[in-house]
Symmetry: C2
Subunit: 337 residues, 2 copies
Amino acid sequence: MTPTLHDVARLAGVSIKTVSNVINDHPNVRSTTRARVEHAIAELGYTPNLTARNLRSGRTGAIALAVPDLGLSYFAELAAIVIEEAERRGVVVLVEQTGGDRDREIALLKSPRLKLTDGLIFSPLGMGQEDVGLLEVPYPLVLLGERIFDGPADHVTMRNVEAARAATEHLIAAGRRRIAVIGAHDGEVIGSAGLRLQGYREALEAAGIAYDDDLIGYTTLWHRSNGARAMRDLLSRGAPFDAVFGLNDTLALGAMRALQETGLRIPADVSVVGFDDLDEAQYSIPSLTTIDPGQDWIARTAVETLLARIAAPAEPAQARLLLADFRLAERESAPAS
Amino acid sequence: MTPTLHDVARLAGVSIKTVSNVINDHPNVRSTTRARVEHAIAELGYTPNLTARNLRSGRTGAIALAVPDLGLSYFAELAAIVIEEAERRGVVVLVEQTGGDRDREIALLKSPRLKLTDGLIFSPLGMGQEDVGLLEVPYPLVLLGERIFDGPADHVTMRNVEAARAATEHLIAAGRRRIAVIGAHDGEVIGSAGLRLQGYREALEAAGIAYDDDLIGYTTLWHRSNGARAMRDLLSRGAPFDAVFGLNDTLALGAMRALQETGLRIPADVSVVGFDDLDEAQYSIPSLTTIDPGQDWIARTAVETLLARIAAPAEPAQARLLLADFRLAERESAPAS
DNA sequence: CGGAGCGAGTACAACGTTGTACAGTGTGCG
DNA sequence: CGCACACTGTACAACGTTGTACTCGCTCCG
């Protein structure tokens, strides 16, 4: 079917190893021989079989990226950057979706499908701290997100508590006192929801504002419709509020939608901040004040770290925790004053 | 390092072929032997080396998906469905981004990186009809989009002309006569922009409305900010209009943003329709009337068609053109009357 | 003028798996 | 009682590539 080294070698009248040497730019090939081989390669349209090369070398030149769902903008943007950075460094990316389901995440970690790759960038959503032991895997792994800490793998993530605190303080500085939250997960301590809620509470406490559970909107998956639904629930509860902190942009956008449905003006009646700085946040109406958590840095650092681990098979270094810088992107939905 | 068939065989006291037979559920293995082998597999934590298996079988169990950019919601949602469908069918997906750049698209088609996969689902954006010859590739290929027609590969896409005509007719039926377009590409005949503009013109013509180039907003990349910019240009031109057809949802959402900035009410002053039925279209304010072009069907059919081609190495059948059904999703931005 | 040394190229094994051909051991039946 | 045959398992080759060890012939220099 497709030509192999043998075909090229036969046509050029040399051994297959010589052809291999030409392809890999090894020394000790006479220029006349090289030319003859190159001509044969061109004539047959030969390209090396990467599967065979990988078997020989033990490397595949591919990495896996496992995220909950590319339909979630945050992960789509993350994947876009990871793929771009990987390409820049000469590897390809195999994308897996777990649906944020714990069982599927666990199954993925042991899946033989990963044998097609040299390592994994893993963003769990269903697994939690109790599953930390399952991250002991026989291949290079970089962990994202905030479901599991102090695991055996390098971990690249954002400063959730500090950033959420900054978002809340921004609202407080603008004079808001009754700040609702959309997207909390009941009882969660770590995880994006738990950590961001903690930042929120720290900001309240520092400002001497009492925490009021009536202002907390709970949802499971952080989807736009859940943001709208949680906001409607909160409105129907009747507890007054003058600001909303959406624990991510998607929730905040859904919440804005629900607020505007009822005639509330943003930011005049209610200011809104989000978290993630999705592309959309610039184009919503009003545009969304949000936290830029350093996603670009996170994605690139994850690739860089993984490739470094792959290149250095021994693991002398401890698992590292790498934290991105964040910044508040101030827009119309929550002006400074 | 990681255990191989040899290790398992030695531990179980059998030949490697017997272990292989156990793993692949081949007959003629005594149940006692099978149990012994399975025990050894479990003890060593053996998993098969897929690279070696692939070399042997000539298949990789992976397909490639090449799209312009996962940062574009349409392609992120497409990728999500492709990956989900592929997983359901037992293959993994390697995602490549071309940036919509013709040279990168052409380079990708010949890239040896594709050797890691059994076939390609390709959504070009930079290549055009003049490049049709480049689609003659030595591996199974399924084409998406509307940049190239009548190529040598199966082609799965949507009914752009009919759907755009339906969208325009919806506006006309609601009494609109001055319908602006956002996202046209100057001089383009095929391609999403060209075809959708054609559908628009057909609808105008059928209704006896004159085509007015002053109502056409041109943009290159279909990004949200370009939608807003084109809308502002159009507004500043001063030509009156009572409806906007965004050639995709992202453009329409950007256009809505620009309209609302100037105080125009949607749909009272201007109705807006989009094209794609992104998740966002349900949650914008107002929610966006748009065309659901059958993306889900397209993604699943692309995977199914590609896997069928991979399974049948001979190609008896002609390249096929597969067209999805569309429907108008009527929402607030352009009600029926 | 003889041996060291190097350049050019070859033969073979190995990566881990699976298909093919075959060998041994019973078992059933004529 | 002997043979056919199913059953269980083995040995070997092959997929296409690259590393290692080797051969051959030439040049250079003491």
